[in-house]
Every structure is written in structure tokens, then in C-alpha cells.
């Protein structure tokens, strides 16, 4: 009787169409659970422990977080990440939007310029970093150009804490501006032309149409770009590792570099996990703020 009941239950389950769908999704779900969900949960757990990879984990509660906020190195990396993200994002938005407006203005050779501006974004960031490292050298292209044209003595772009962060910011803007320009361009081309025509008839000049039509209708695009670019800046790692390794001093030691150093060189896994949690929280809060600020009811 019992076996029959089990057989019936088995048949019932297998006759359900939902199960078939579930089976198709299962491999992806298993992959997600193992490689995404489990590491995230594990990282949260590790952030509450003291662990160096080789000894057993010791639960310390919020100890790692308390230590972090008393650690001047962490606070410095927090500050550097903030400066870098703010500077890069602002420059990036201004540059990419300006380029998109230029390309969208029906000037000559715009297609060609569009390709040129977009090209850096298809290059590997590692390659870009290495090429720019050479350009930033004492007798590199940039210093030679400044010397020849403006008679400026060579600038220690990557070895002075005055310039190092700025140098990486310039490189990142050069590298990413083309990509964001394309997104802005798509947003611009999605705005109905009739709105501009109507504004023109009403006597609006270029500035008015930009402020009253273009910017408000670009809000959804701004939202996407602001979230993606802030995330990218907060997660930037390779250029800092390859160009300066966080130096000179700790002037370019961003949070990702600090996490990497604490985890793999100092073997402080608990502390590194706590730093990652803080970085995650910052990103999460930023995204919420951006969604709220750029929330748009505009439909066209």
C-alpha cells in the first residue's frame, strides 16, 4: 500500500509540466548556486570571522568592521575610491555627452569620429593601461609633447601623489568615453524630432532645447549610465594594480586594491570580506539614490 502511494506520488510529480521546465533550468540554477549564491553567503559569513586560509575560522562578530573604521589605511582607501569615482564619473558624463551631442549634430565626418571615439572602449583595459604607462613615462609621449609645445618640465605622472590619481582618471575617461557616448547617442536619437521642431517654432534656441527637451528626456539614459559608470569606478582594479600598485605612498590605493592586498598577501580573509561587504553596501546605496534621483515618468 505504501509503495503504491509512493509510485502514485512519483507519477504525479513527473506528469507535471512544471517539473520539465524546472529540469531545464536546473543546470543553470546549480551553476548559479555554486558560483554566485554560495560565495556571496560565504563572504558574508567570513566577514564576521578571523581567518587566514590555513587555520579554522574564529567568529568575531562585528570585530572586523569595527577595526576597519579605526584603520587609517582603510579610511584612506575609502577616500581615494571616493575621489576617483567622483572625478572620473563627472568627467566621463560631461565628455561622453558632449561627444554624443557633437556626433548627433549632423556635422561632416561624424560617422568616422564616432568610430574613432568608440575604438578605445573595445581595447582590453590591461593593454590600455600598459600603453598609457609608457606614455606617462618621464621621457614618454605626453611629457615630450608638453616639453616641445609648452616647454613644461617632465611631470611625474605616476610617481607623484599629486598627479597619480589624476593620470589614471584621464586614462579611464579616454578609455570609457566612447562607450558611454554610444549609449547617450542612442538616447538622443530616441527623442522624437517633432519636439525639437515644435520648440523651434516656439522660438527656443539651442540652449533652451538642450535644457528643456534633451536633458529631461535623457533621464532614463542618465540613470543607466550613472549606475553603470559608478559601479565600474568603484570596482576598478587592473589600472591601479598595473600602473601604480596603489602608490606613491597610498595615494592610489583604492578599496579593491586594499581588499586584494589584505586577502592574498596579508591573508586576512575576514577583514577582506568585511571590506568587500562595505564596498557592496556603498554600491547598493548609490544605486538606490541614483534610481530615486533619476526616476522619470517621461514617456514618449
Amino acid at each position: 500500500m505504501r509503495i503504491k502511494e509512493i509510485q502514485l506520488l512519483f507519477q504525479k510529480i513527473f506528469s507535471q509540466r512544471k517539473l520539465v521546465g524546472f529540469l531545464f533550468v536546473l543546470p543553470g540554477l546549480v551553476f548559479f548556486m555554486i558560483f554566485f549564491f554560495y560565495p556571496v553567503i560565504n563572504a558574508i559569513y567570513i566577514s564576521f570571522t578571523r581567518w587566514n586560509l590555513f587555520t579554522s575560522k574564529q567568529f568575531v562578530g562585528l570585530g572586523n568592521f569595527v577595526e576597519l573604521f579605526q584603520d587609517p589605511d582603510f579610511l584612506q582607501s575609502f577616500k581615494v575610491t571616493g575621489y576617483f569615482s567622483l572625478g572620473t564619473c563627472l568627467l566621463l558624463w560631461i565628455t561622453s555627452l558632449s561627444l554624443a551631442l557633437l556626433i548627433n549634430s549632423n556635422l561632416k565626418f561624424t560617422k568616422l569620429f564616432q568610430i574613432f571615439y568608440f575604438l578605445p572602449s573595445i581595447l582590453s583595459l590591461t593593454v590600455v593601461t600598459i600603453v598609457w604607462s609608457y606614455m606617462y613615462r618621464r621621457l614618454g609621449l605626453i611629457n615630450m609633447f608638453l616639453k616641445a609645445v609648452f616647454d613644461i618640465s617632465s611631470i611625474p605622472w605616476l610617481s607623484s601623489s599629486k598627479y597619480a590619481l589624476l593620470s589614471i582618471t584621464i586614462m579611464m575617461v579616454w578609455c570609457w568615453a566612447g562607450y558611454y557616448m554610444i549609449i547617450f547617442l542612442a538616447g538622443l536619437r530616441g527623442i522624437p524630432f517633432t519636439l525639437y521642431e515644435a520648440a523651434k517654432i516656439d522660438g527656443a534656441n539651442w540652449w533652451h532645447t538642450l535644457i528643456r527637451i534633451t536633458f529631461p528626456l535623457l533621464k532614463p539614459t542618465f540613470l543607466f549610465i550613472s549606475i553603470v559608470s559608478v559601479m565600474a569606478c568603484l570596482q576598478a582594479f587592473a589600472p591601479f594594480l598595473l600602473m601604480t600598485s596603489g602608490g606613491p605612498g597610498s595615494s592610489t590605493r583604492v578599496m579593491t586594491l586594499k581588499i586584494y592586498g589584505d586577502a592574498f598577501f596579508r591573508l586576512r580573509m575576514g577583514r577582506a570580506a568585511a571590506e568587500s561587504m562595505i564596498l557592496f553596501l556603498i554600491m547598493f546605496i548609490f544605486s538606490l539614490i541614483q534610481i530615486r534621483v533619476f526616476r522619470s515618468e517621461v514617456t514618449y
Binding site: L26, R138, L139, K147, P156, L158, S159, M243, G247
Partner: protein, 428 residues
């Protein structure tokens, strides 16, 4: 229709289960089915050493036909260190690896390696093992000792010296045999004749400072010891980097850049031996005997003008060179094939003469024997190197007072030492 549907569902389910079984068990079945053993050997990139070891590995495989050796070459020592640690933490990693001395304290305290297998050498004591090894290999063994057991077979013991470009000396009207920088003070003097400036820019440096944290710390540590100071006190409990010796050493390097202008302010960090191989530098002090083979391969135009001289001393300082460093073959405690790994290690260290020829062991010619015998042991871990370098860059690049940066460095090193869960070997 319903029966057909059920059949399809069962078929899909069965195939899914089979697929998972193949994925999870297939690999193991395949490995167990073979009778050969695969030994994983990891080391860092150094072309002459890799080329020396490849035929030895082939020889080993011929000697043991059931063993296959998989050699992995990491781009650098820090890269190797990172990969080894992560692999070990996952219970895997190499069977045999070649690691530098700065990591020994950490590795041995976490139980990552096993002591040398005496049976492999047909010996009953470590003393007997030493007698069976070549002099250079045996001499370096003491660096790999922990609680009366030896954990590594030395593949490299080295120190830095001064490399000069004789062609540049000739052009400056200097005799490279007499006018070389025997002291730091002399370096400042001859440097001003060697340096080339055009339109206010140094286009050829007289002396290039290493901007790689590990090598910078070795150079700086050498200078400190010459002045009676050190980075860490002899008992290893606190940093003494902010002593008068530290301030004078850092001020000397600062003066090279801003007072005598013989060293250009580096444009990029993390460069070793910068500019020498391109002819943009006349003197460097961060290269060992291995540099000769490296230069021959990579800069054949500069190689004929390379000459090694002793590491500069201070006029009123101690007559000692730069701290020594070394590498050794070590067998992982995770390895299933420990004995086979030691057999491979034994073959790899069998060519000490060849290692000496490519500069992995210090040559018998001047100035090397004195430099290696006076330099002492370099045992500073990477974390302290980074703190020292951070302080130095603040002074050298941002012109912050040396005393201020070294005081900050001392605080950081003291904090690091207090939190360190193991003892750094070499300190009492």
C-alpha cells in the same frame, strides 16, 4: 499522449542524471584508470633557470617512465606566492615548488611544507644529506631550517652588487676600474660627470633607483646596516627604521634626486634595474649575478659594457654589502607523491655548477665572495617591504621630510609585527 509525454520526461531526467554522473565522476575514473603519476612543479619566470631545468625534468621522466612532470611558470615571485597560497587553501596546489626565503616563515608556520626526505638521499641525518649535496646547495640549506628539520633544497643564493656601464664611464672621461662608486659619497661625485641633461631634462641617469618594493627594501636595508641601523630590531619585535641611520640613508637617496640631480624622479613605480638595459642609466645597485645572463639575452648591445662592482658603502660606515636572498625547492604537505617530489628536487639541484654559471649561485670572482659574505640575511616579508617603500616614495616623490615618513613607517611596522601570528625566521 500522456504515456508518450511521461516517456519523454523520464528520458530527459535520465539523460540529465547521466550527464551529472559523467561530469562529477568521469574525471576521477579516468585518472584512476591510468597508472602514471603526474607531479606538479611550480616556479617563477627566469628564462635561463627554466631552460636549465627543462632537460633535467626530461631526464627525470626518462628515469621514472610512470611519472609525468607538469611544470608551471608564474610570471613573478609575488604571482607564484599568490597562486600557491590560494591553491594550498583549497587543498590542492603543486607537489613541488620553488619559493623565495621571504615566504619561508609564513609557509612553515602554517605547515604547508614537509621536511626533506632523508631516504631519497640514502642518508640518516641532515648532515649526511649536506655532504651529498654540492657545496653551494648545502651552504644555503641553513635558511630553510625549522625546529631542527630542513625543508628546502637551495636553488639560488644571491645578493646584489653595483652594475656599471663602462662605455658611459669612458664617455665621461672616467676610468671604470678606478673611478667606480666605492662609496655613496663618491657616487654623488662621479654621478655629476655621468649624468646627461638636455634642455633641463635628465636624458641619461647616472644612478637609477629601483622602484620595486622588494628590491628597494634590500638596497635600503643594506644602506641602513652600513650605518649601524636596520629595518627591524635584532629580536624582531619592533622597527628601528626611524633611527638616525634610516634618516641619513633616505636623505642620501633624496639628495641624489634633488641636490646632486644624478637620479631622475622615477616616472613609474614597480620597475627593477630601470633603464640600464636600454642605456638610459649608467649605474644600478639592484641586480645580482643572474643579471649577466639576462642582459646577454635581452640587451646584447649593452652587455659588453656591463661590469660588476661592490655595492657602495658610506665613507664612515661599516664595510658590508647588501642582504642575501635565496630560493629553494620545497615539497607540499598536500602532495600525494612526496617522495617522488623530493626525487625530482634532487635531480633539479644536481647541476649546482650550471646554476653558478647562470648566476643563481654567487660566482667566485670579485666582487661577489665578499659581497655575499658581508651582506647578511634578507628576511623582511613583503608586507614590511611595502611599508618601507610607501615611506620612501613619500619622501622621494612627494618631498616629505624623511624623519616624518620613517616615523609613520615604524608605527605601521610595529603594528604589523604585533599582529603577526608567526615568528619571522632570522630574528632571535
Amino acid at each position: 499522449m500522456s504515456t508518450q509525454h511521461n516517456f519523454k520526461v523520464k528520458l530527459i531526467l535520465s539523460l540529465t542524471v547521466i550527464m551529472f554522473v559523467i561530469c562529477f565522476l568521469g574525471g576521477n575514473v579516468w585518472v584512476q584508470g591510468k597508472e602514471t603519476i603526474t607531479l606538479r612543479y611550480w616556479r617563477h619566470q627566469h628564462k635561463p633557470a627554466v631552460e636549465l631545468e627543462q632537460p633535467l625534468i626530461k631526464k627525470f621522466e626518462e628515469q621514472y617512465p610512470n611519472i609525468k612532470v607538469e611544470m608551471f611558470v608564474a610570471t613573478s615571485t609575488p604571482d607564484l606566492h599568490e597562486k600557491v597560497l590560494v591553491a594550498f587553501a583549497g587543498g590542492g596546489g603543486p607537489d613541488l615548488f620553488n619559493m623565495e626565503g621571504g615566504k619561508f616563515s609564513q609557509y612553515v608556520s602554517y605547515g604547508l611544507m614537509v621536511p626533506i626526505d632523508l631516504d631519497v638521499f640514502g642518508a640518516r641525518t641532515y648532515q649526511e644529506v649536506m655532504e651529498k649535496l654540492a657545496t653551494d646547495v648545502a651552504a644555503g640549506l641553513s635558511g630553510w631550517k625549522h625546529e631542527d628539520k630542513y625543508y628546502g633544497l637551495t636553488t639560488e643564493v644571491s645578493c646584489y652588487a653595483t652594475a656599471i656601464n663602462t662605455q658611459h664611464f669612458k664617455e665621461a672621461g672616467l676610468d671604470s676600474d678606478k673611478d667606480y662608486p666605492i662609496t655613496w659619497e663618491k657616487l654623488a661625485e662621479i654621478g655629476q660627470k655621468l649624468v646627461r641633461v638636455e634642455r633641463g631634462e635628465i636624458i641619461r641617469e647616472a644612478y637609477a633607483l629601483t622602484t620595486y618594493p622588494v628590491t628597494f627594501t634590500l638596497v635600503f636595508e643594506g644602506m641602513l646596516r652600513q650605518l649601524g641601523g636596520d629595518v627591524v630590531s635584532p629580536d624582531g619585535k619592533e622597527s628601528i627604521i626611524n633611527s638616525e641611520a634610516g634618516v641619513k640613508a633616505l636623505q642620501t637617496l633624496y639628495d641624489f634626486m634633488y641636490e646632486y640631480k644624478i637620479t631622475a624622479v622615477p616616472s613609474q613605480l614597480n620597475l627593477q634595474g630601470p633603464g640600464f638595459e636600454t642605456g638610459a642609466t649608467s649605474i644600478v645597485t639592484d641586480v645580482g649575478p643572474w643579471y649577466e645572463a639576462y642582459l646577454k639575452d635581452n640587451a646584447p648591445g649593452i652587455y659588453p659594457y656591463l661590469q660588476f662592482k661592490p655595492f657602495p658603502r658610506f665613507e664612515k660606515g661599516k664595510d658590508i654589502g647588501i642582504p642575501n636572498y635565496g630560493y629553494a625547492l620545497q615539497v607540499s604537505s598536500n602532495s600525494k607523491y612526496k617522495r617522488e617530489s623530493w626525487e625530482l628536487a634532487k635531480i633539479l639541484v644536481s647541476t649546482a655548477g650550471e646554476r653558478k654559471r647562470i648566476g643563481l649561485f654567487v660566482p667566485d670572482e670579485w666582487p661577489w665572495p665578499k659581497e655575499i659574505s658581508t651582506g647578511g640575511l634578507g628576511i623582511i616579508p613583503k608586507e614590511i617591504n611595502d611599508i618601507v617603500f610607501e615611506a620612501a616614495t613619500k619622501t622621494l616623490m612627494d618631498k616629505v621630510n624623511p624623519r616624518e615618513t620613517l616615523n609613520a613607517a615604524k608605527k605601521k611596522i610595529d603594528k604589523y609585527l604585533a599582529e603577526l601570528p608567526y615568528k619571522i625566521y632570522g630574528y632571535k
